[in-house]
Protein backbone atom coordinates (compact mmCIF):
# COMPACT_ATOMS: atom_id res chain seq x y z
CA UNK A 1 0.00 0.00 0.00
CA UNK A 2 2.62 2.42 1.15
CA UNK A 3 4.90 1.50 -1.71
CA UNK A 4 2.11 1.88 -4.25
CA UNK A 5 1.34 5.37 -3.04
CA UNK A 6 4.98 6.28 -3.28
CA UNK A 7 5.05 5.30 -6.93
CA UNK A 8 2.26 7.78 -7.68
CA UNK A 9 3.90 10.55 -5.69
CA UNK A 10 4.77 12.64 -8.80
CA UNK A 11 1.20 12.46 -10.07
CA UNK A 12 -0.18 13.93 -6.86
CA UNK A 13 2.59 16.46 -6.30
CA UNK A 14 2.83 17.72 -9.87
CA UNK A 15 -0.15 20.14 -9.98
CA UNK A 16 0.97 21.93 -6.82
CA UNK A 17 4.59 21.97 -7.96
CA UNK A 18 3.58 23.37 -11.34
CA UNK A 19 1.39 26.04 -9.79
CA UNK A 20 4.13 26.96 -7.34
CA UNK A 21 6.68 27.19 -10.16
CA UNK A 22 4.45 29.27 -12.42
CA UNK A 23 3.15 31.64 -9.82
CA UNK A 24 6.19 32.03 -7.64
CA UNK A 25 9.45 30.37 -8.62
CA UNK A 26 9.70 31.44 -12.29
CA UNK A 27 8.63 35.08 -11.72
CA UNK A 28 11.02 35.23 -8.77
CA UNK A 29 14.02 34.01 -10.76
CA UNK A 30 13.05 36.18 -13.72
CA UNK A 31 12.71 39.14 -11.41
CA UNK A 32 16.24 38.66 -10.17
CA UNK A 33 17.45 38.34 -13.73
CA UNK A 34 15.58 41.50 -14.81
CA UNK A 35 17.17 43.48 -12.00
CA UNK A 36 20.44 43.13 -13.92
CA UNK A 37 18.95 44.42 -17.15
CA UNK A 38 17.46 47.53 -18.70
CA UNK A 39 14.01 46.43 -19.76
CA UNK A 40 10.60 47.57 -20.81
CA UNK A 41 8.96 44.16 -21.17
CA UNK A 42 10.11 40.74 -20.12
CA UNK A 43 11.32 39.96 -23.65
CA UNK A 44 12.90 43.31 -24.32
CA UNK A 45 15.81 43.32 -21.86
CA UNK A 46 19.47 44.21 -22.19
CA UNK A 47 22.05 43.05 -19.69
CA UNK A 48 23.61 45.92 -17.79
CA UNK A 49 25.26 44.11 -14.89
CA UNK A 50 25.04 45.75 -11.46
CA UNK A 51 24.38 49.21 -12.91
CA UNK A 52 20.78 49.21 -11.66
CA UNK A 53 21.92 48.54 -8.09
CA UNK A 54 24.47 51.34 -8.27
CA UNK A 55 21.81 53.70 -9.63
CA UNK A 56 19.37 52.71 -6.94
CA UNK A 57 21.71 53.81 -4.18
CA UNK A 58 23.56 56.69 -5.82
CA UNK A 59 21.34 58.46 -8.37
CA UNK A 60 19.28 60.07 -5.61
CA UNK A 61 18.64 59.69 -1.89
CA UNK A 62 15.11 58.36 -2.35
CA UNK A 63 15.90 54.72 -1.66
CA UNK A 64 18.12 55.40 1.34
CA UNK A 65 15.58 57.83 2.76
CA UNK A 66 12.74 55.37 2.26
CA UNK A 67 14.79 52.63 3.89
CA UNK A 68 15.58 54.80 6.90
CA UNK A 69 11.96 55.95 7.22
CA UNK A 70 10.74 52.35 6.95
CA UNK A 71 13.17 51.16 9.61
CA UNK A 72 12.13 53.91 12.04
CA UNK A 73 8.46 53.24 11.36
CA UNK A 74 8.90 49.48 11.79
CA UNK A 75 10.79 49.74 15.07
CA UNK A 76 8.22 52.09 16.58
CA UNK A 77 5.26 50.06 15.29
CA UNK A 78 6.57 46.67 16.37
CA UNK A 79 7.19 47.89 19.88
CA UNK A 80 3.99 49.87 20.28
CA UNK A 81 1.68 47.32 18.65
CA UNK A 82 3.05 44.43 20.70
CA UNK A 83 3.23 46.23 24.02
CA UNK A 84 -0.31 47.58 23.69
CA UNK A 85 -1.72 44.30 22.33
CA UNK A 86 -0.11 42.34 25.15
CA UNK A 87 -1.39 44.81 27.73
CA UNK A 88 -4.94 44.60 26.34
CA UNK A 89 -4.71 40.81 26.27
CA UNK A 90 -3.71 40.80 29.94
CA UNK A 91 -6.68 43.03 30.74
CA UNK A 92 -9.15 40.99 28.74
CA UNK A 93 -8.12 37.63 30.20
CA UNK A 94 -9.15 38.76 33.65
CA UNK A 95 -12.42 37.41 34.94
CA UNK A 96 -14.72 40.36 34.30
CA UNK A 97 -17.88 41.14 32.44
CA UNK A 98 -17.94 42.20 28.81
CA UNK A 99 -14.56 40.83 27.80
CA UNK A 100 -16.03 39.16 24.73
CA UNK A 101 -17.57 42.41 23.54
CA UNK A 102 -14.25 44.24 23.96
CA UNK A 103 -12.36 41.47 22.20
CA UNK A 104 -14.68 41.68 19.18
CA UNK A 105 -14.54 45.47 19.06
CA UNK A 106 -10.75 45.53 19.21
CA UNK A 107 -10.53 42.91 16.49
CA UNK A 108 -12.80 44.72 14.05
CA UNK A 109 -10.30 47.19 12.47
CA UNK A 110 -8.64 44.12 11.01
CA UNK A 111 -11.57 43.47 8.77
CA UNK A 112 -11.12 46.77 6.93
CA UNK A 113 -8.84 46.76 3.87
CA UNK A 114 -5.64 48.80 3.76
CA UNK A 115 -6.61 51.43 1.18
CA UNK A 116 -9.95 52.17 2.83
CA UNK A 117 -8.26 52.35 6.20
CA UNK A 118 -5.71 54.80 4.82
CA UNK A 119 -8.38 57.13 3.51
CA UNK A 120 -10.44 56.91 6.70
CA UNK A 121 -7.46 57.90 8.81
CA UNK A 122 -6.52 60.55 6.30
CA UNK A 123 -9.93 62.12 6.84
CA UNK A 124 -9.74 61.77 10.60
CA UNK A 125 -6.26 63.16 11.00
CA UNK A 126 -6.80 65.97 8.54
CA UNK A 127 -10.05 66.77 10.30
CA UNK A 128 -8.23 67.29 13.55
CA UNK A 129 -5.22 69.04 12.04
CA UNK A 130 -7.50 71.47 10.20
CA UNK A 131 -8.21 73.13 13.55
CA UNK A 132 -4.57 74.13 13.55
CA UNK A 133 -4.71 75.19 9.93
CA UNK A 134 -2.48 72.40 8.60
CA UNK A 135 -2.91 68.90 7.20
CA UNK A 136 -1.02 65.63 7.33
CA UNK A 137 1.31 66.64 4.51
CA UNK A 138 2.47 69.71 6.44
CA UNK A 139 5.37 67.89 8.09
CA UNK A 140 6.97 64.44 7.81
CA UNK A 141 6.45 64.11 11.56
CA UNK A 142 2.67 64.17 11.12
CA UNK A 143 2.87 61.56 8.39
CA UNK A 144 5.12 59.35 10.46
CA UNK A 145 2.96 59.37 13.59
CA UNK A 146 -0.17 59.16 11.48
CA UNK A 147 1.14 55.95 9.97
CA UNK A 148 2.14 54.60 13.38
CA UNK A 149 -1.27 55.32 14.87
CA UNK A 150 -3.04 53.76 11.92
CA UNK A 151 -0.82 50.69 12.02
CA UNK A 152 -1.49 50.27 15.74
CA UNK A 153 -5.18 50.67 15.20
CA UNK A 154 -5.19 48.02 12.52
CA UNK A 155 -2.88 45.41 14.02
CA UNK A 156 -3.46 45.61 17.78
CA UNK A 157 -6.72 43.67 17.72
CA UNK A 158 -5.27 40.83 15.72
CA UNK A 159 -2.15 40.54 17.84
CA UNK A 160 -4.27 40.82 20.96
CA UNK A 161 -6.25 37.75 19.94
CA UNK A 162 -3.02 35.77 19.54
CA UNK A 163 -1.78 36.97 22.94
CA UNK A 164 -5.10 36.11 24.57
CA UNK A 165 -4.82 32.56 23.26
CA UNK A 166 -1.25 32.38 24.58
CA UNK A 167 -2.14 33.72 28.01
CA UNK A 168 -5.16 31.44 28.33
CA UNK A 169 -2.92 28.48 27.57
CA UNK A 170 -0.83 29.08 30.66
CA UNK A 171 -1.97 26.53 33.26
CA UNK A 172 -3.73 28.28 36.12
CA UNK A 173 -1.86 26.34 38.77
CA UNK A 174 1.42 27.80 37.48
CA UNK A 175 0.17 31.23 38.44
CA UNK A 176 -1.04 29.87 41.76
CA UNK A 177 2.33 28.24 42.44
CA UNK A 178 3.99 31.59 41.69
CA UNK A 179 1.67 33.42 44.05
CA UNK A 180 2.46 30.95 46.83
CA UNK A 181 6.17 31.25 46.02
CA UNK A 182 5.87 34.95 46.70
CA UNK A 183 6.01 36.43 43.20
CA UNK A 184 4.18 39.74 42.96
CA UNK A 185 2.41 40.94 39.80
CA UNK A 186 5.58 42.34 38.20
CA UNK A 187 7.74 39.27 38.89
CA UNK A 188 4.92 37.00 37.74
CA UNK A 189 4.68 38.97 34.51
CA UNK A 190 8.39 38.82 33.73
CA UNK A 191 9.26 35.42 35.20
CA UNK A 192 6.16 33.41 34.32
CA UNK A 193 3.72 35.07 31.90
CA UNK A 194 6.16 36.45 29.33
CA UNK A 195 8.35 33.33 29.13
CA UNK A 196 5.23 31.20 28.85
CA UNK A 197 3.78 33.22 25.94
CA UNK A 198 7.09 33.36 24.08
CA UNK A 199 5.62 31.43 21.12
CA UNK A 200 2.90 34.08 20.76
CA UNK A 201 5.49 36.84 21.04
CA UNK A 202 7.50 35.21 18.25
CA UNK A 203 4.49 35.04 15.97
CA UNK A 204 3.28 38.55 16.76
CA UNK A 205 6.64 40.28 16.36
CA UNK A 206 7.15 38.40 13.12
CA UNK A 207 3.75 39.45 11.81
CA UNK A 208 4.05 43.09 12.87
CA UNK A 209 7.61 43.28 11.62
CA UNK A 210 6.88 42.01 8.14
CA UNK A 211 3.55 43.86 7.92
CA UNK A 212 5.12 47.16 8.91
CA UNK A 213 8.14 46.71 6.70
CA UNK A 214 6.09 45.83 3.62
CA UNK A 215 3.44 48.48 4.21
CA UNK A 216 2.15 49.89 0.92
CA UNK A 217 -1.62 50.54 0.57
CA UNK A 218 -1.94 52.51 3.76
CA UNK A 219 1.16 54.51 2.97
CA UNK A 220 -0.21 55.36 -0.46
CA UNK A 221 -3.64 56.28 0.85
CA UNK A 222 -2.63 58.21 3.96
CA UNK A 223 0.27 60.39 2.77
CA UNK A 224 1.34 59.12 -0.66
CA UNK A 225 4.84 60.05 0.49
CA UNK A 226 4.09 63.73 1.04
CA UNK A 227 5.55 66.16 1.93
CA UNK A 228 7.90 65.59 -1.00
CA UNK A 229 9.02 62.04 -0.66
CA UNK A 230 9.69 62.33 3.05
CA UNK A 231 7.09 59.81 4.22
CA UNK A 232 7.66 57.38 1.40
CA UNK A 233 8.30 53.84 2.56
CA UNK A 234 10.29 51.19 0.70
CA UNK A 235 7.41 49.57 -1.12
CA UNK A 236 6.01 52.89 -2.25
CA UNK A 237 9.45 54.04 -3.41
CA UNK A 238 9.84 50.86 -5.46
CA UNK A 239 6.42 51.40 -6.97
CA UNK A 240 7.19 55.03 -7.82
CA UNK A 241 10.55 54.12 -9.31
CA UNK A 242 9.07 51.36 -11.43
CA UNK A 243 6.06 53.20 -12.78
CA UNK A 244 7.10 56.79 -12.23
CA UNK A 245 10.14 57.17 -14.41
CA UNK A 246 10.47 55.95 -17.98
CA UNK A 247 13.39 53.53 -18.35
CA UNK A 248 13.81 53.00 -14.59
CA UNK A 249 12.04 49.62 -14.47
CA UNK A 250 15.36 47.85 -13.97
CA UNK A 251 16.25 50.12 -11.08
CA UNK A 252 12.86 49.50 -9.50
CA UNK A 253 13.45 45.80 -9.94
CA UNK A 254 16.88 46.05 -8.30
CA UNK A 255 15.34 47.89 -5.34
CA UNK A 256 12.75 45.14 -5.04
CA UNK A 257 15.47 42.50 -4.85
CA UNK A 258 17.29 44.45 -2.12
CA UNK A 259 13.95 44.79 -0.34
CA UNK A 260 13.40 41.05 -0.54
CA UNK A 261 16.84 40.33 0.89
CA UNK A 262 16.29 42.69 3.82
CA UNK A 263 12.89 41.17 4.66
CA UNK A 264 14.26 37.63 4.40
CA UNK A 265 17.23 38.42 6.64
CA UNK A 266 15.03 40.12 9.24
CA UNK A 267 12.59 37.22 9.25
CA UNK A 268 15.23 34.57 9.72
CA UNK A 269 17.13 36.56 12.32
CA UNK A 270 14.00 37.24 14.27
CA UNK A 271 12.76 33.66 14.16
CA UNK A 272 16.17 32.46 15.25
CA UNK A 273 16.48 34.92 18.13
CA UNK A 274 13.02 34.57 19.67
CA UNK A 275 12.80 30.89 18.80
CA UNK A 276 15.73 30.27 21.14
CA UNK A 277 13.82 31.74 24.06
CA UNK A 278 10.66 29.75 23.47
CA UNK A 279 9.45 27.29 26.00
CA UNK A 280 9.29 23.82 24.62
CA UNK A 281 6.69 22.02 26.64
Amino acid sequence: MHKNLKRYFPVFALPTCAAFAMAFLIPFVMGIYLSFTKFTTVTNAQWVGVQNYITAFTADNNFINALWFTVKFTVVSVISVNVIAFFLAMLLTRPMKGTNLFRSVFFMPNLIGGIVLGYIWNLLINGILSYYGVDITYSAKYGFWGLVVMMNWQLIGYMMVIYIAGIQNIPGDLMEAASIDGAGPVKTLFKITIPMVMPSITICTFLTLTNSFKLFDQNLALTAGAPGRQTQMLALDIYNTFYGKIGWQGVGQAKAVVFFIIVAVIAFLQLYLTGKKEVEQ
Binding site: E176, A177, S179, I180, D181
Partner: protein, 370 residues
Protein backbone atom coordinates in the same frame (compact mmCIF):
# COMPACT_ATOMS: atom_id res chain seq x y z
CA UNK B 1 5.41 24.45 62.47
CA UNK B 2 1.87 25.41 63.15
CA UNK B 3 -1.56 24.10 63.86
CA UNK B 4 -4.46 24.92 61.56
CA UNK B 5 -7.96 25.69 62.75
CA UNK B 6 -11.02 25.91 60.54
CA UNK B 7 -13.98 27.50 62.31
CA UNK B 8 -17.40 27.43 60.66
CA UNK B 9 -15.78 27.63 57.25
CA UNK B 10 -18.19 28.20 54.39
CA UNK B 11 -17.54 28.23 50.67
CA UNK B 12 -19.87 29.25 47.87
CA UNK B 13 -18.75 29.73 44.28
CA UNK B 14 -21.97 31.36 43.22
CA UNK B 15 -25.16 32.35 44.99
CA UNK B 16 -27.04 29.07 44.54
CA UNK B 17 -24.15 26.63 44.77
CA UNK B 18 -22.76 26.01 48.25
CA UNK B 19 -19.81 23.63 48.18
CA UNK B 20 -19.05 23.73 51.89
CA UNK B 21 -21.76 24.68 54.37
CA UNK B 22 -20.08 24.69 57.75
CA UNK B 23 -16.77 23.01 58.28
CA UNK B 24 -14.96 22.73 61.60
CA UNK B 25 -11.59 21.09 61.85
CA UNK B 26 -8.52 21.28 64.01
CA UNK B 27 -5.22 20.13 62.57
CA UNK B 28 -2.50 19.76 65.17
CA UNK B 29 1.05 21.00 64.87
CA UNK B 30 3.31 18.46 63.09
CA UNK B 31 0.36 16.27 62.27
CA UNK B 32 0.03 14.35 59.01
CA UNK B 33 -3.62 15.02 58.26
CA UNK B 34 -5.26 13.50 55.20
CA UNK B 35 -8.52 14.68 53.68
CA UNK B 36 -10.19 11.83 51.87
CA UNK B 37 -13.51 11.43 50.11
CA UNK B 38 -15.05 10.82 46.71
CA UNK B 39 -14.22 13.20 43.90
CA UNK B 40 -16.13 16.48 44.05
CA UNK B 41 -16.70 16.40 47.80
CA UNK B 42 -14.76 19.61 48.43
CA UNK B 43 -11.33 18.37 49.53
CA UNK B 44 -9.37 20.51 47.09
CA UNK B 45 -11.57 23.48 47.86
CA UNK B 46 -10.79 23.11 51.54
CA UNK B 47 -7.07 22.78 50.88
CA UNK B 48 -7.07 25.75 48.52
CA UNK B 49 -8.81 27.87 51.14
CA UNK B 50 -6.04 26.98 53.58
CA UNK B 51 -3.51 27.93 50.89
CA UNK B 52 -5.25 31.22 50.21
CA UNK B 53 -5.92 30.40 46.57
CA UNK B 54 -9.64 30.38 47.15
CA UNK B 55 -11.56 33.05 48.96
CA UNK B 56 -13.27 31.99 52.18
CA UNK B 57 -16.98 32.83 52.06
CA UNK B 58 -17.56 32.61 55.79
CA UNK B 59 -15.96 31.56 59.06
CA UNK B 60 -12.42 31.84 60.32
CA UNK B 61 -9.19 30.18 59.30
CA UNK B 62 -6.28 30.19 61.71
CA UNK B 63 -2.72 29.09 61.06
CA UNK B 64 -1.01 28.95 64.42
CA UNK B 65 -3.00 31.50 66.36
CA UNK B 66 -3.17 34.03 63.54
CA UNK B 67 -6.39 34.56 61.60
CA UNK B 68 -5.32 34.37 57.96
CA UNK B 69 -8.61 34.83 56.08
CA UNK B 70 -7.26 37.95 54.39
CA UNK B 71 -3.56 37.08 54.34
CA UNK B 72 -1.98 36.55 50.90
CA UNK B 73 -0.81 33.00 50.08
CA UNK B 74 2.85 34.00 50.17
CA UNK B 75 2.50 35.38 53.71
CA UNK B 76 0.84 32.30 55.18
CA UNK B 77 4.11 30.42 55.59
CA UNK B 78 2.81 27.48 53.60
CA UNK B 79 4.02 25.50 50.61
CA UNK B 80 1.85 23.59 48.19
CA UNK B 81 2.42 20.59 45.97
CA UNK B 82 -0.04 20.47 43.08
CA UNK B 83 -1.48 17.39 41.42
CA UNK B 84 -0.05 18.57 38.09
CA UNK B 85 3.16 19.55 39.96
CA UNK B 86 2.89 23.03 38.35
CA UNK B 87 6.62 23.19 37.69
CA UNK B 88 7.80 26.23 35.78
CA UNK B 89 8.54 24.62 32.40
CA UNK B 90 11.01 27.27 31.25
CA UNK B 91 13.19 26.99 34.32
CA UNK B 92 15.75 24.35 35.26
CA UNK B 93 15.13 22.14 38.27
CA UNK B 94 17.52 24.34 40.22
CA UNK B 95 15.67 27.52 39.29
CA UNK B 96 12.32 25.94 40.04
CA UNK B 97 13.48 25.17 43.55
CA UNK B 98 15.26 28.50 44.03
CA UNK B 99 12.35 30.60 42.77
CA UNK B 100 10.65 31.18 46.11
CA UNK B 101 13.94 31.81 47.91
CA UNK B 102 14.91 34.42 45.32
CA UNK B 103 11.62 36.19 45.90
CA UNK B 104 12.53 36.38 49.58
CA UNK B 105 15.88 37.90 48.58
CA UNK B 106 17.91 35.29 50.35
CA UNK B 107 21.66 35.28 49.82
CA UNK B 108 22.92 33.30 46.84
CA UNK B 109 25.08 30.98 49.00
CA UNK B 110 22.12 30.35 51.25
CA UNK B 111 19.88 29.52 48.27
CA UNK B 112 22.56 27.26 46.87
CA UNK B 113 22.94 25.42 50.13
CA UNK B 114 19.21 24.88 50.61
CA UNK B 115 18.58 23.74 47.05
CA UNK B 116 21.46 21.29 47.17
CA UNK B 117 20.37 19.97 50.54
CA UNK B 118 16.84 19.32 49.26
CA UNK B 119 18.15 17.85 46.01
CA UNK B 120 20.28 15.47 48.00
CA UNK B 121 17.40 14.22 50.11
CA UNK B 122 15.25 13.76 47.02
CA UNK B 123 18.05 12.29 44.91
CA UNK B 124 17.79 15.03 42.33
CA UNK B 125 21.37 16.31 42.42
CA UNK B 126 22.29 15.15 38.95
CA UNK B 127 19.18 16.67 37.39
CA UNK B 128 19.53 20.20 38.74
CA UNK B 129 20.32 21.69 35.35
CA UNK B 130 17.58 19.89 33.46
CA UNK B 131 14.28 21.37 32.43
CA UNK B 132 11.19 19.63 33.82
CA UNK B 133 10.24 18.22 30.42
CA UNK B 134 13.42 16.12 30.47
CA UNK B 135 12.39 14.37 33.68
CA UNK B 136 10.28 11.31 34.38
CA UNK B 137 6.96 11.62 36.24
CA UNK B 138 8.51 10.47 39.49
CA UNK B 139 11.37 12.95 39.19
CA UNK B 140 9.01 15.83 38.45
CA UNK B 141 7.01 14.87 41.47
CA UNK B 142 10.16 15.03 43.61
CA UNK B 143 11.05 18.44 42.15
CA UNK B 144 7.62 19.65 43.20
CA UNK B 145 8.30 18.35 46.70
CA UNK B 146 11.76 19.93 46.66
CA UNK B 147 10.34 23.27 45.66
CA UNK B 148 8.10 23.11 48.72
CA UNK B 149 10.84 21.80 51.02
CA UNK B 150 13.48 24.47 50.40
CA UNK B 151 11.17 27.11 51.79
CA UNK B 152 10.96 25.35 55.17
CA UNK B 153 7.29 26.29 55.57
CA UNK B 154 5.28 25.60 58.70
CA UNK B 155 2.61 23.86 56.67
CA UNK B 156 2.82 21.57 53.67
CA UNK B 157 -0.28 21.36 51.52
CA UNK B 158 -0.45 18.49 49.05
CA UNK B 159 -3.29 17.99 46.56
CA UNK B 160 -3.32 14.45 45.18
CA UNK B 161 0.45 14.55 44.64
CA UNK B 162 0.73 10.87 43.77
CA UNK B 163 -2.21 10.41 41.43
CA UNK B 164 -0.14 10.91 38.26
CA UNK B 165 2.34 8.16 39.14
CA UNK B 166 2.14 4.48 38.28
CA UNK B 167 1.09 2.02 40.97
CA UNK B 168 4.56 0.84 41.91
CA UNK B 169 6.03 4.33 42.18
CA UNK B 170 3.00 5.47 44.13
CA UNK B 171 3.56 2.77 46.75
CA UNK B 172 7.23 3.77 46.99
CA UNK B 173 6.40 7.44 47.33
CA UNK B 174 3.95 6.71 50.13
CA UNK B 175 6.79 5.42 52.25
CA UNK B 176 9.05 8.28 51.22
CA UNK B 177 6.45 10.91 52.00
CA UNK B 178 5.83 9.39 55.41
CA UNK B 179 9.55 9.49 56.10
CA UNK B 180 9.81 13.02 54.79
CA UNK B 181 7.11 14.08 57.20
CA UNK B 182 8.99 12.55 60.10
CA UNK B 183 12.25 14.22 59.05
CA UNK B 184 10.77 17.65 58.42
CA UNK B 185 8.68 17.76 61.58
CA UNK B 186 6.04 20.01 60.02
CA UNK B 187 2.32 19.94 59.58
CA UNK B 188 1.18 18.10 56.43
CA UNK B 189 -2.30 18.51 54.99
CA UNK B 190 -2.79 16.02 52.23
CA UNK B 191 -5.74 15.53 49.90
CA UNK B 192 -6.53 12.28 48.15
CA UNK B 193 -9.49 10.26 46.92
CA UNK B 194 -7.56 7.05 47.55
CA UNK B 195 -8.32 5.54 50.93
CA UNK B 196 -5.22 3.31 50.75
CA UNK B 197 -3.01 6.40 50.64
CA UNK B 198 -4.90 7.86 53.53
CA UNK B 199 -4.73 4.70 55.63
CA UNK B 200 -1.02 4.14 55.04
CA UNK B 201 0.30 7.63 55.66
CA UNK B 202 -2.00 9.64 57.89
CA UNK B 203 -1.76 10.34 61.57
CA UNK B 204 -5.40 11.27 61.34
CA UNK B 205 -7.90 11.13 58.49
CA UNK B 206 -10.80 13.43 57.66
CA UNK B 207 -13.48 11.62 55.70
CA UNK B 208 -15.61 14.03 53.68
CA UNK B 209 -18.77 13.70 51.64
CA UNK B 210 -20.63 16.48 49.86
CA UNK B 211 -18.69 19.15 51.71
CA UNK B 212 -19.51 17.68 55.11
CA UNK B 213 -17.00 16.02 57.43
CA UNK B 214 -18.18 12.51 58.23
CA UNK B 215 -15.51 11.53 60.73
CA UNK B 216 -12.08 12.63 61.88
CA UNK B 217 -9.95 9.94 63.48
CA UNK B 218 -6.84 7.79 63.29
CA UNK B 219 -6.73 5.20 60.49
CA UNK B 220 -7.15 2.43 63.05
CA UNK B 221 -10.23 3.97 64.63
CA UNK B 222 -11.80 4.74 61.26
CA UNK B 223 -11.41 1.13 60.30
CA UNK B 224 -12.59 -0.32 63.55
CA UNK B 225 -15.16 2.25 64.60
CA UNK B 226 -16.68 3.98 61.56
CA UNK B 227 -19.26 6.46 62.74
CA UNK B 228 -21.60 5.85 59.83
CA UNK B 229 -22.29 3.66 56.86
CA UNK B 230 -20.52 6.01 54.43
CA UNK B 231 -17.23 5.92 56.32
CA UNK B 232 -17.56 2.17 56.82
CA UNK B 233 -18.00 1.71 53.08
CA UNK B 234 -15.30 4.16 52.06
CA UNK B 235 -12.51 2.82 54.24
CA UNK B 236 -11.23 -0.67 53.46
CA UNK B 237 -11.12 -2.73 50.27
CA UNK B 238 -13.08 -4.63 49.19
CA UNK B 239 -15.88 -2.57 50.60
CA UNK B 240 -17.70 -3.58 53.76
CA UNK B 241 -20.80 -5.75 53.15
CA UNK B 242 -24.10 -4.24 54.19
CA UNK B 243 -26.88 -6.71 54.89
CA UNK B 244 -30.39 -5.63 55.87
CA UNK B 245 -31.44 -7.56 58.97
CA UNK B 246 -34.24 -7.58 61.54
CA UNK B 247 -33.24 -7.01 65.12
CA UNK B 248 -35.00 -9.48 67.42
CA UNK B 249 -34.97 -9.77 71.18
CA UNK B 250 -35.58 -12.85 73.27
CA UNK B 251 -35.18 -13.12 77.01
CA UNK B 252 -32.52 -10.40 77.19
CA UNK B 253 -30.57 -11.66 74.20
CA UNK B 254 -30.50 -9.91 70.87
CA UNK B 255 -30.33 -11.41 67.41
CA UNK B 256 -29.96 -10.19 63.84
CA UNK B 257 -32.16 -12.10 61.44
CA UNK B 258 -31.64 -12.17 57.69
CA UNK B 259 -32.28 -14.77 55.02
CA UNK B 260 -32.38 -18.06 56.91
CA UNK B 261 -30.01 -16.90 59.60
CA UNK B 262 -30.51 -15.80 63.15
CA UNK B 263 -27.27 -14.67 64.68
CA UNK B 264 -26.84 -13.59 68.29
CA UNK B 265 -25.26 -10.19 68.93
CA UNK B 266 -22.13 -10.30 71.05
CA UNK B 267 -22.21 -8.84 74.56
CA UNK B 268 -20.01 -5.98 73.37
CA UNK B 269 -22.83 -4.63 71.20
CA UNK B 270 -25.58 -5.26 73.67
CA UNK B 271 -23.73 -3.50 76.46
CA UNK B 272 -22.71 -0.54 74.34
CA UNK B 273 -26.20 0.73 73.84
CA UNK B 274 -29.79 0.17 74.70
CA UNK B 275 -31.11 -1.66 71.66
CA UNK B 276 -34.73 -1.72 72.76
CA UNK B 277 -35.66 1.07 70.33
CA UNK B 278 -34.49 -0.96 67.39
CA UNK B 279 -36.13 -4.21 68.38
CA UNK B 280 -38.35 -5.52 65.63
CA UNK B 281 -36.95 -3.02 63.15
CA UNK B 282 -34.72 -3.39 60.14
CA UNK B 283 -31.10 -2.43 60.76
CA UNK B 284 -28.03 -2.73 58.58
CA UNK B 285 -25.47 -5.30 59.54
CA UNK B 286 -21.98 -4.34 58.38
CA UNK B 287 -19.43 -7.05 57.94
CA UNK B 288 -16.00 -6.53 56.39
CA UNK B 289 -14.97 -9.17 53.83
CA UNK B 290 -12.03 -10.07 56.04
CA UNK B 291 -14.36 -10.82 58.95
CA UNK B 292 -15.66 -13.90 57.21
CA UNK B 293 -13.48 -16.86 57.99
CA UNK B 294 -12.92 -20.01 56.04
CA UNK B 295 -13.15 -23.47 57.50
CA UNK B 296 -9.49 -23.94 58.37
CA UNK B 297 -9.58 -20.69 60.33
CA UNK B 298 -12.87 -21.01 62.14
CA UNK B 299 -12.23 -24.49 63.38
CA UNK B 300 -9.58 -22.93 65.58
CA UNK B 301 -12.01 -20.38 66.97
CA UNK B 302 -14.85 -20.76 69.36
CA UNK B 303 -17.38 -18.53 67.71
CA UNK B 304 -19.19 -20.17 64.84
CA UNK B 305 -21.89 -18.16 63.18
CA UNK B 306 -21.83 -20.19 60.05
CA UNK B 307 -23.05 -18.69 56.79
CA UNK B 308 -23.34 -20.70 53.60
CA UNK B 309 -22.33 -18.59 50.66
CA UNK B 310 -22.97 -19.91 47.15
CA UNK B 311 -19.82 -18.70 45.36
CA UNK B 312 -20.54 -17.15 41.95
CA UNK B 313 -17.03 -16.00 41.41
CA UNK B 314 -13.68 -16.58 43.14
CA UNK B 315 -10.93 -14.05 42.61
CA UNK B 316 -7.43 -15.20 43.37
CA UNK B 317 -5.36 -12.33 44.78
CA UNK B 318 -2.27 -14.23 45.92
CA UNK B 319 -2.30 -14.62 49.67
CA UNK B 320 -6.06 -14.16 49.72
CA UNK B 321 -9.02 -15.19 47.67
CA UNK B 322 -12.11 -13.03 47.22
CA UNK B 323 -15.41 -14.89 47.10
CA UNK B 324 -18.41 -13.20 45.50
CA UNK B 325 -21.93 -14.47 46.08
CA UNK B 326 -25.36 -13.50 47.34
CA UNK B 327 -27.09 -13.94 50.65
CA UNK B 328 -30.79 -13.51 50.08
CA UNK B 329 -30.65 -10.87 47.36
CA UNK B 330 -27.71 -9.01 48.90
CA UNK B 331 -24.34 -9.30 47.17
CA UNK B 332 -21.61 -10.29 49.58
CA UNK B 333 -17.83 -10.43 49.31
CA UNK B 334 -15.67 -12.54 51.57
CA UNK B 335 -11.90 -12.43 51.80
CA UNK B 336 -10.28 -15.62 53.04
CA UNK B 337 -6.79 -17.13 52.89
CA UNK B 338 -6.12 -18.56 49.47
CA UNK B 339 -5.09 -21.84 51.06
CA UNK B 340 -8.81 -22.63 51.50
CA UNK B 341 -10.00 -25.02 48.80
CA UNK B 342 -12.91 -22.98 47.45
CA UNK B 343 -13.82 -22.47 43.80
CA UNK B 344 -16.64 -20.83 41.88
CA UNK B 345 -19.78 -22.99 42.02
CA UNK B 346 -19.04 -24.26 45.53
CA UNK B 347 -21.01 -23.28 48.54
CA UNK B 348 -18.52 -21.97 51.04
CA UNK B 349 -19.12 -22.42 54.74
CA UNK B 350 -17.97 -19.18 56.30
CA UNK B 351 -17.85 -18.15 59.93
CA UNK B 352 -19.00 -14.59 60.54
CA UNK B 353 -16.97 -12.83 63.23
CA UNK B 354 -19.65 -10.87 65.02
CA UNK B 355 -17.08 -9.30 67.36
CA UNK B 356 -15.89 -7.23 64.42
CA UNK B 357 -19.31 -6.58 62.89
CA UNK B 358 -21.18 -3.25 62.91
CA UNK B 359 -24.81 -2.21 63.14
CA UNK B 360 -26.14 0.86 61.37
CA UNK B 361 -29.42 2.70 61.53
CA UNK B 362 -31.22 1.83 58.29
CA UNK B 363 -32.67 5.33 57.90
CA UNK B 364 -29.83 7.66 58.93
CA UNK B 365 -26.88 5.39 58.23
CA UNK B 366 -25.37 6.27 61.61
CA UNK B 367 -23.63 3.58 63.58
CA UNK B 368 -25.83 2.03 66.28
CA UNK B 369 -22.89 0.31 67.90
CA UNK B 370 -19.34 0.49 66.60
Amino acid sequence: MASITLKNIKKTYDAKHTVIENLNLEIKDKEFMILVGPSGCGKSTTLRMIAGLEEISGGELLIGDRVVNDVAPKDRDIAMVFQSYALYPHMSVYKNMAFALKRKHEKQEEIDRKVHAAAKVLELEEYLNRKPRALSGGQRQRVALGRAMVRQPSVFLLDEPLSNLDAKLRAEMRTQLKKLHQDLQTTFVYVTHDQTEAMTMADRIVVMKDGVIQQVDTPQNLYNHPSNQFVAGFIGTPQMNFIDAKLAAESGRYFVCFDAYRIPLPDRMVKARDLADYTGQTVVLGVRPEDFHGEAEYRLKTQRNLIHLPVDQAEMMGAEIYLYGEIGKTPVVAKIPSAEPVAAGDTAALALDMQAAHLFDKRTGDAITD
